[in-house]
C-alpha cells in the first residue's frame, strides 16, 4: 500500500523520520519528566572541541581574523562620556568559504553525514546556513537540498533570500523554494523520507558543537592580541545556536566574558503572516525567531534542540533595522570593510554597549557575513520602499517595524534596548512546567535553573506565580 503523504499522516511520522535523518535516538537523554541530560546529548556526537577544529580545518573553515575596529572605537569615544568607550573587535567570519560563521556548524554536521554513509544532506533554512551546508557537501561529494521560505503569495521574494538561493546553487545544491508558512517542515519531512538524506538541522548537537570553535578562537585571539579575556562578547541571536556554541567555546577556553545576545527588533510582525513577510528587511537575527526560540528551544525540527541560549545569556538587547543598516555603512566607510547587513546586528549593539564601558574594556563582535546583490543595504532599503516602508534619517526610537526604517541621523542616536531577560526566563520555566501533568520534580528544578542560568530559588518563585 502506498504511503499516506497527506499533511496529518506525514506529521504523525515526524519522530521516526527525524530519528533516521539525524541518526540520534533522543529518548536516551530523557528523564521522563521536564529534565533531560543536555550535556549527555552534546557528548553523544562523539566529537570533542579539538575534533571540531580538525574537521573544520579540513573544510578550510575557521581561524578567521579578529580585527580591532579602531575608527569605530574612536567614533564611540567621541560620543561616550569621558573615559568611556570600550575597544571593539570583530571576528571576520565572512572570510569562511561560504561567507558566514554558519559553515562551522555545517562542517561538523556534514562530516558526520559523510562518515555515517548518508547519500546527501538537507537543510531547511532561508539564511546563510544553506550556503554553508552546500559548501561542505560540495567538498564532501554529497548531494545537497536546501529548502527555503522565500516568497509571499504575490510571488515576491526577499532579495536577501533570493541571493542565498543563488549562492546555494552556485555551490551545487538543489534549492526548493516555498511561500510563507511553517508547513515548510512538512515538505522537509517528505523530502527526508523520500531521499534518505541527513537532516543537517541547525539545532542538532552536531551543528552546535561546530560553533564552539568560534568562542574558543575568540578567547585565544584576545589573549594573543590584548593579553586578556574580552569583557563582553556580543552574539546575534535567532535560533540560539550562535550564542550557545560561542558561549560554550568561551567557557571551554576558560573565558569569563559576559555573553550578550542581540536581535533586530521586529516587534509586532508575525513571522508566518503572508502579508507581513515582505514588510521586514531582516530574514534572520531578529526577535521574531530570537524571542520564541530562547524561551522555548524545543520548537525546533529536532525533539531536543542543542541551541539553548538562555543557559548562557547574561543580557539580551535589541536594535532597530535602521541602526543595523547604519552600522553596516560605518563598517564600510570608517573601517574599509564592506559586509552584509544582517551580520552586523551584533556590531550595532556593540557600538551602544561600548559606550557603557571604560576605555580599558573590550567588546568582541563574533561575526560578519558576506555581502552581494540582494544582501546589501541599498537592495534591502529599495525593497522596503517598494513594500510601503518609509525610510528616513532621524531618531531610531521612532522606528516602527513594518512601517518605517529610521537610519540614525547621528551616531549618538544609536541605542541598544534591553529586553526583559527575567521575563524570558520565567516564561521558559512556566512553559516547561505546563508540558507535564505533575509538579516539577527536584531534578526538574535543578534542570530549569541550568536552563535559565538562574538558581533553584528563582525557578521556585517563577513556578509560584
Amino acid at each position: 500500500m502506498p504511503k499516506d503523504n497527506g499533511y496529518e499522516a506525514v506529521m504523525a511520522r515526524k519522530g521516526d523520520i527525524v530519528r533516521s535523518a539525524v541518526g540520534v535516538d533522543y529518548a536516551q537523554f530523557e528523564s521522563g519528566s521536564i529534565a533531560f541530560d543536555y550535556e549527555a546529548m552534546m557528548r553523544s556526537t562523539g566529537y570533542s572541541l579539538k575534533d571540531a577544529i580538525e574537521i573544520q580545518r579540513g573544510y578550510a573553515v575557521g581561524s578567521t581574523p579578529l580585527i580591532e575596529l579602531k575608527n569605530i572605537t574612536a567614533l564611540v569615544r567621541k560620543i561616550a562620556k569621558d573615559g568611556y568607550g570600550a575597544r571593539i573587535f570583530i571576528k571576520d567570519e565572512a572570510a569562511n568559504p561560504s561567507g558566514s560563521f554558519k559553515v562551522r556548524r555545517a562542517a561538523t554536521s556534514i562530516f558526520h553525514a559523510k562518515r555515517t554513509g548518508y547519500p546527501g544532506a538537507l537543510a531547511a533554512t532561508s539564511g546563510n546556513y544553506g550556503a554553508a551546508v552546500a559548501s561542505c557537501c560540495a567538498k564532501s561529494g554529497l548531494k545537497c537540498i536546501v529548502v527555503q521560505e522565500c516568497y509571499d503569495s504575490r510571488g515576491i521574494g526577499q532579495p536577501e533570500i533570493i541571493e542565498k538561493a543563488r549562492k546555494c546553487e552556485s555551490l551545487g545544491a538543489e534549492v526548493v523554494q516555498l511561500s510563507v508558512g511553517p508547513e515548510l517542515f512538512y515538505t522537509v519531512l517528505r523530502m527526508l523520507e523520500d531521499t534518505g538524506y541527513f537532516n543537517a538541522s541547525l539545532y542538532s548537537a552536531f551543528g552546535v558543537i561546530g560553533i564552539e570553535t568560534l568562542g574558543w578562537e575568540v578567547a585565544h585571539q584576545c589573549w594573543e592580541q590584548i593579553g586578556k579575556d574580552p569583557d563582553v562578547v556580543v552574539c546575534t541571536n535567532a535560533g540560539g545556536g550562535n550564542l550557545t556554541g560561542t558561549a560554550r567555546g568561551l567557557l571551554k577556553a576558560g573565558s569569563q566574558a559576559q555573553v550578550v545576545a542581540a536581535s533586530v527588533n521586529l516587534k509586532g510582525l508575525h513571522m508566518a503572516s503572508d502579508t507581513q513577510f515582505n514588510k521586514k528587511s531582516f530574514t534572520t537575527g531578529h526577535t521574531g525567531f530570537g524571542m520564541p526560540f530562547s524561551t522555548w528551544p524545543d520548537r525546533s525540527d529536532v525533539p531536543r534542540s542543542a541551541a539553548r541560549p538562555l543557559r548562557y545569556m547574561d543580557r539580551y538587547v535589541t536594535v532597530g533595522q535602521g541602526e543595523v543598516f547604519y552600522t553596516t555603512e560605518l563598517l564600510a566607510r570608517l573601517e574599509g570593510i564592506e559586509r552584509g547587513p544582517a551580520g552586523n546586528t551584533s556590531l550595532a549593539a556593540a557600538i551602544s554597549l561600548a559606550q557603557e564601558l571604560p576605555e580599558s574594556a573590550t567588546v568582541v563582535v563574533q561575526e560578519t557575513e558576506y555581502t552581494g546583490a540582494g544582501k546589501h543595504g541599498c537592495a534591502q532599503l529599495s525593497f522596503a520602499r517598494q513594500n510601503g516602508i518609509a525610510v528616513f534619517l532621524g531618531d531610531p526610537k521612532d522606528e516602527v517595524p513594518g512601517e518605517s526604517i529610521v537610519i540614525p541621523a547621528h551616531p549618538g542616536l544609536l541605542r541598544a534596548k534591553d529586553a526583559d531577560l527575567g521575563h524570558m526566563r520565567r516564561s521558559l520555566i512556566r512553559h516547561a512546567a505546563s508540558t507535564v501533568g505533575h509538579a516539577p520534580t527536584d531534578g526538574d528544578i535543578t534542570f530549569l535553573a541550568a536552563e535559565t542560568k538562574t538558581n533553584e530559588a528563582f525557578v521556585k518563585e517563577a513556578l509560584k506565580a
Binding site: 499533511y7 575608527n71 574612536a74 567614533l75 567621541k78 546527501g120 548531494k143 545537497c144 537540498i145 522565500c150 516568497y151 503569495s153 532579495p159 533570493i162 543563488r166 546553487e169 551545487g172 545544491a173 538543489e174 534549492v175 526548493v176 523554494q177 516555498l178 511561500s179 510563507v180 508558512g181 511553517p182 508547513e183 512538512y186 515538505t187 531521499t195 508575525h270 508566518a272 503572516s273 503572508d274 502579508t275 507581513q276 543598516f325 547604519y326 555603512e329 560605518l330 564600510a332 566607510r333 570608517l334 546583490a373 546589501h376 543595504g377 541599498c378 537592495a379 532599503l381 529599495s382 525593497f383 520602499r385 525610510v391 528616513f392 534619517l393 537610519i407 541621523a409 547621528h410 551616531p411
Partner: protein
C-alpha cells in the same frame, strides 16, 4: 517551446488555501502553500504545461512549467541617499572636513 533536457523552473501547490496548518495566521490560511524548484525537463513542453523534471539531486518533481533557462535578476537596489549621507556625516565627525 522548451525542449526535453532544458534546465527549467516549475511551480506547484503543496497545500491548497483552506488546507493550511491550524496554527497559521488568517491571511496565510487564505492562500496556498506554493513550491518552486528547478530541474531538467523530461519532455518538450510549453510554458504553463504540467511537466516532470529531474532535479539536480536526481529527484523527479511534477509541476507547472514557469520558466525556461531561469536566471537571477536580484540587484544592489536603487541609490539609498540616506545611507550615503549617514556615512559621509560619520566620516566627517571622525576625521573632520567640510560639509
Amino acid at each position: 517551446m522548451a525542449k526535453k533536457g532544458d534546465w527549467v523552473r516549475i511551480h506547484s501547490v503543496v497545500l491548497p488555501a483552506g488546507e493550511r496548518a491550524a496554527a497559521v495566521p488568517e491571511d496565510t490560511q487564505r492562500v496556498p502553500l506554493e513550491l518552486w524548484t528547478k530541474g531538467y525537463l523530461r519532455q518538450d513542453a510549453n510554458l504553463g504545461d504540467e511537466v516532470r523534471v529531474v532535479t539536480r539531486t536526481g529527484r523527479t518533481e511534477h509541476g507547472t512549467l514557469v520558466d525556461d533557462a531561469p536566471h537571477y535578476e536580484h540587484s544592489f537596489g536603487d541609490f539609498a541617499p540616506e545611507l550615503q549621507r549617514a556615512g559621509d556625516d560619520a566620516f566627517r565627525l571622525l576625521f573632520g572636513g567640510e560639509d
